[in-house]
Structure formats: structure tokens, C-alpha cells
């Protein structure tokens, strides 16, 4: 197999891993915002 395959599998997987981490960072932020909103709603009900 030519070396391009090994290079692409390495660089491609790294790019995907970083992209997934950035997506999870954004998801974590959205989750934190949602929890704050839920807390505000609970407070408003009280």
C-alpha cells in the first residue's frame, strides 16, 4: 500500500478528533446554558 494511505489516515483522524472535541466544547457550553435557564425557570415558579 502506498504511503499516502498511512499519511491520510493519520492526518485525517487527527483532524476528525479535533473537530469532535470542538463540537463537544460547543455542546458543553449549550448544556451549561440550558441548565442555567432551567434554574431560572424553577426560580420564577417559586
Amino acid at each position: 500500500m502506498n504511503h499516502g494511505f498511512y499519511l491520510w489516515m493519520s492526518y485525517g483522524a487527527t483532524a476528525i478528533a479535533i473537530a469532535i472535541e470542538i463540537a463537544t466544547l460547543a455542546a458543553g457550553r449549550a448544556r451549561a446554558r440550558r441548565l442555567i435557564e432551567e434554574e431560572r425557570d424553577l426560580e420564577a415558579q417559586d
Binding site: A13, I20, E21, T24, L25, I36
Partner: protein
Amino acid sequence: MNWSYFASPSTFYGLAGRLAPWFFGLAAMLAVAGLYVGLAMAPTDAQQGEVYRIIFIHVPAAWMSMFLYLVMAVYAGVSLAFNTRLAAMMARSLAPTGAMFTFVALWTGAFWGRPTWGTYWAWDARMVSELVLLFLYFGFIALANAFEDPRRGDRAAALLALIGLVNLPIIYFSVHWWNTLHQGSTVKLTGTSMHVAMLTGMLLMVFAFWTYSIGAALTRVRSIILERERRTRWVRAL
């Protein structure tokens, strides 16, 4: 400078928000420069051909996997010793990035090993100890989230992080202590035999991964702070 001022989650939240974009921007610039030097300027290796260019992500990822664990364990130790909330949050925020770089080091190592050694994996001391590091990260993340009370999770995970520190010298010295398939260190404090363009590309990528890790940790810790402090007045006022 009053360092305890920055140990307050509310103060650090703002500081992290201001710093993170700069670290991400710097990481992107360094990565572009590192990839250009590594893929376009560095010469082809006489023995390994083009496949050696995996070095520009494999070595920086492997270094970051160990360095981030060390920093995570220091934060965990500080949180245990001084019962500081922010240190525990920082330890939590570093673990996923450390795990990601450990995975990248193992994955790229496998795709470098196949054409050079003839195998994707060997039960070699360096590779096994790096795999143990990945399991330590997974264990830390799982333990930190296993308790309803996050402070209990912090303490349990901190203990694991400190115990796991013993694995770092094993990873680093494994190539000296045992007869391994994995090669020994090419870059040492005393010098290197690498071509200057190869070394420059690799170091640029090390700094790119380093600044990216800081940006990611600062971004993640902001979410952790918001979650933990959501009942406080300052978070509600955001």
C-alpha cells in the same frame, strides 16, 4: 499580583473567556506554519520515505498526552491539598483534551508502525504504557462524573490522577528500560540528529497543540464553572 483573586471561579470565568480565542487563534497560525514546514519544506527521509511525516502530529500528540496528564495531576493534587474549587475544575477540563491527544498518539503511531515495522500494534512497553495512559484518562473522566455530588467526584478522580502519575516515567523511560520495538528519543536536551526543517516543523506543531490545549481547557472550564455555579447570583446575572 494577587493570585488568589484569579482562583475565584467568577473572576476566572471572565479571564478564560478573554484568553481562549487568542489561544485558539495562535494555535491555528502555528498549525498552518508547522504543517507548511513539515509537509512542504522538510526533506523526504532517506530510510522511511514520505511516511515519516506522521512525526509532525505523532510526536507532538504523544508529548501533549504526557504533559497534560502531569498538569491535570498537579491541579488534582492542589484541589485535594487546598480544597480549591477551580483547581478541581481545571483538572476536569484538561482530561478530555489529554485523552484525545493520547488517542491521536496511539492511532498515528499505529499508522506509522505498519509501513515501518510491518505491524499496527505490538505489545511493546512504550505502546502499552501509552495505552494505559488512555485508560487512566478514561478512568479519571468516568470517576469524576460517577458521583451525584461533584466534589466527591473531584476527590475520587484526583486520587486516581495522582496514582496514575507513576505511569509517566514508565512511558518516558520505557525505551531505555526495556528492549522495545519503538525507537528511542530523537530529540534530547543535549541535542538532536534531525534535519533543521524537520525539527522546526515538529516544534511548531508542539506549540500549536500546546496553545490549542490551553484554549480548549479554558473553554471547557467555563462550561464547568457555569454548571457548578448556576445557583449563584453572578451566574444568574449573566
